[in-house]
């Protein structure tokens, strides 16, 4: 079979591979050709691994030996903060430009066990701090649907590589919406799994109480396949929840909660509101009960997050000092070496958050900021958990607007407010799925987000597939 573009779903790729219409090596070669053709304009990939064809050949051999898995032979990309042994992982930062991972993350171990072909590492905002993929030390990634616009972040490379057809799916990481927001901007699906469901072992840490690896794919079905592959207890992640401790809710969705007051917040575009309202109407016509729910503390989510995350970042990035690994700039003494290395190695947003983290954790400010933020976070969690006694899922837009032009948002607070709809899931540890629905006034995609109770991913997939079916 001669193909001029990649199959767009894991299922269609697997059908072709199983039927013998194409081999994994041929599929990988097609992937590499797509990258050669398109990526000079998009800049999704920071590195295409040199062993891609070897991986594909190995997948073909495993298939011939009788191994079966939905991901066998399927080409995927991984975000640049996911460790793959023997390969560079730079978190899109200069300070790690020479860092070669000495071990593989649990994500990569599971993908390799499944026989997936990992094409390479894709671009991101430096250390996952950003919502646009403009903060990479290696240059921005562009939205494949409009090269003048951002793909979203921080997993912008993941979303762009999938949307452009350069790979079938990708694994990103999500701390405040970093999988879901770029998925929405690029017209694909993205999942933030329940915190504690998928292992963070081998992810370059940003916010340890919020991070999860998350799939980016063209369909809800594909997100489900990837989640099922990554999901599971790992004792190398101290926050990983054993299966015996997981209270898994029933997968039925009958009542959809909508926090209508949030839709009228400043910054939410009229188009986002109207497209969302059209979906709600169609869900009601399909037999779902839609209930208005009160989530008043959600307006505090962004301030809470931007106290907690700099605090955790200042801790997690303190190890990036150029001593044991990474780039070192020699100074006049040890302290000066630390400061020169970090000053030269970190970009402006990373520096901003490290300084802010030092501030909110310092004596005299810690109680007012960090302690108060963790307490307000608990209020937010309680309100969200309580909301799930009134509804089965919570539905809202993924973003306040469609993809914006590169360089058009320079105020850090304006960038932070992009997370308003996505960060509640991270603060509460609840799973949330973004599905493309509707378009903005320029024709670029918008997304809607379905959030469920903890370990309630099956509810997200169930309603997500319905929403896919309701798209015009």
């Amino acid at each position: 079979m001669t193909l001029d573009k990649l199959p767009t779903t894991i299922e269609s790729a697997q059908d072709m591979l199983c039927s013998g219409a194409i081999t994994a090596v041929e599929l990988a070669n097609l992937c590499l050709e797509q990258i050669r053709t398109k990526d000079s304009d998009i800049h999704a990939f920071l590195e295409v691994y040199s062993d891609v064809l070897d991986q594909a050949a190995q997948a073909d051999k495993r298939r011939a030996d009788g191994f079966v898995h939905p991901l066998l032979g399927v080409p995927l990309s991984i975000k640049d903060n996911i460790l793959c042994a023997g390969h560079t992982a730079s978190a899109a930062s200069k300070i790690l430009e020479n860092y070669v991972a000495p071990y593989s993350s649990d994500v990569v171990e599971k993908l390799q066990a499944a026989g997936a072909v990992i094409i390479g590492r894709v671009n991101m905002d430096e250390f996952a701090m950003g919502s646009s993929c403009e903060y990479s030390a290696y240059g921005p990634t562009r939205n494949p649907l409009d090269l003048a616009r951002v793909p979203g972040g921080s997993s912008g490379g993941s979303a762009a590589s999938v949307a452009a057809g350069m790979c079938v799916a990708s694994i990103g990481t999500d701390t405040a919406g970093s999988v879901r927001l770029p998925a929405s901007f690029c017209g694909v699906c993205g999942l933030y799994p329940t915190y504690g469901s998928c292992s963070r072992y081998g992810l370059i840490a940003m916010g340890s109480s919020l991070d999860q690896p998350g799939p980016v794919a063209t369909t809800v079905d594909d997100c489900q396949i990837l989640f099922n592959t990554l999901n599971g207890f790992d004792d190398r992640d101290a926050q990983s929840v054993p299966e015996s401790s997981r209270d898994i809710p029933d997968p039925q969705v009958r009542v959809v909660g909508v926090p209508r007051a949030l839709l009228h917040m400043e910054g939410v575009s009229d188009r986002v509101r109207s497209e969302f309202d059209s979906l709600v109407t169609r869900l009601e016509q399909s037999g779902y009960q839609v209930r208005d729910i009160d989530l008043s503390t959600i307006t505090a989510c962004v301030p809470v997050y931007y106290v907690i995350i700099p605090a955790e970042v200042s801790t997690n990035l303190s190890r990036m000092d150029g001593m044991r690994f990474g780039v070192r700039h020699e100074g006049t003494d040890l302290l000066d070496t630390y400061m020169q290395s970090k000053g030269a190695g970190f970009g402006p947003e990373t520096q901003r958050r490290m300084l802010l983290g030092a501030y909110v954790l310092s004596a005299g400010y810690r109680d007012a900021y960090y302690t108060k933020a963790t307490q307000v976070r608990e209020l937010i969690r309680q309100e969200i958990f309580n909301a799930f006694t009134q509804c089965d899922v919570i539905l809202n837009p993924t973003t306040t607007m469609g993809a914006f032009e590169i360089g058009s948002v320079v105020d850090p607070v304006a960038m932070y407010m992009m997370d308003i709809f996505t960060v509640p899931a991270n603060l509460s540890g609840c799973p949330a799925l973004s599905i493309p629905y509707g378009s903005d006034t320029t024709g670029l995609p918008l997304g809607v987000q379905v959030m469920g109770p903890r370990f309630g991913e099956e509810r997200l997939f169930a309603l997500g597939k319905v929403i896919e079916g309701l798209r015009a």
Partner: protein, 95 residues
């Protein structure tokens, strides 16, 4: 308020050298961000709210303060059992 003196102290604390050319922009950004995060002060906590923050440090959760019996009860009551794995509860109880 953040001024240059405080910014210099934070720079030392975080061990991040701030380019002198960037100082004014840093201060401006900080003021803007503090205006955003300061909104948490407006959130009132219930009078019976007793939660001790758990500090996460590189995939390890440690109770940030010595835990009294009341605090332990507060932690267990305010965190779902499926967030606190068995190991964490044991750590809390040992304190």
């Amino acid at each position: 308020m953040i001024d240059e003196t405080l910014l210099q102290k934070l720079s030392l604390l975080a061990r991040v050298a701030v380019d002198p050319a960037d100082v004014q922009q840093r201060l401006q950004d900080f003021q803007s961000i503090l205006g955003c995060i300061g909104q948490i002060n407006a959130v009132e906590l219930p009078s019976d709210f007793a939660i001790v923050p758990i500090v996460y440090n590189h995939a390890r959760a440690d109770v940030s303060r010595p835990a009294s019996a009341d605090t332990v009860a507060g932690i267990i009551n305010n965190f779902p059992s499926n967030v606190l794995g068995q190991l964490r509860v044991q750590q809390v109880l040992k304190k």
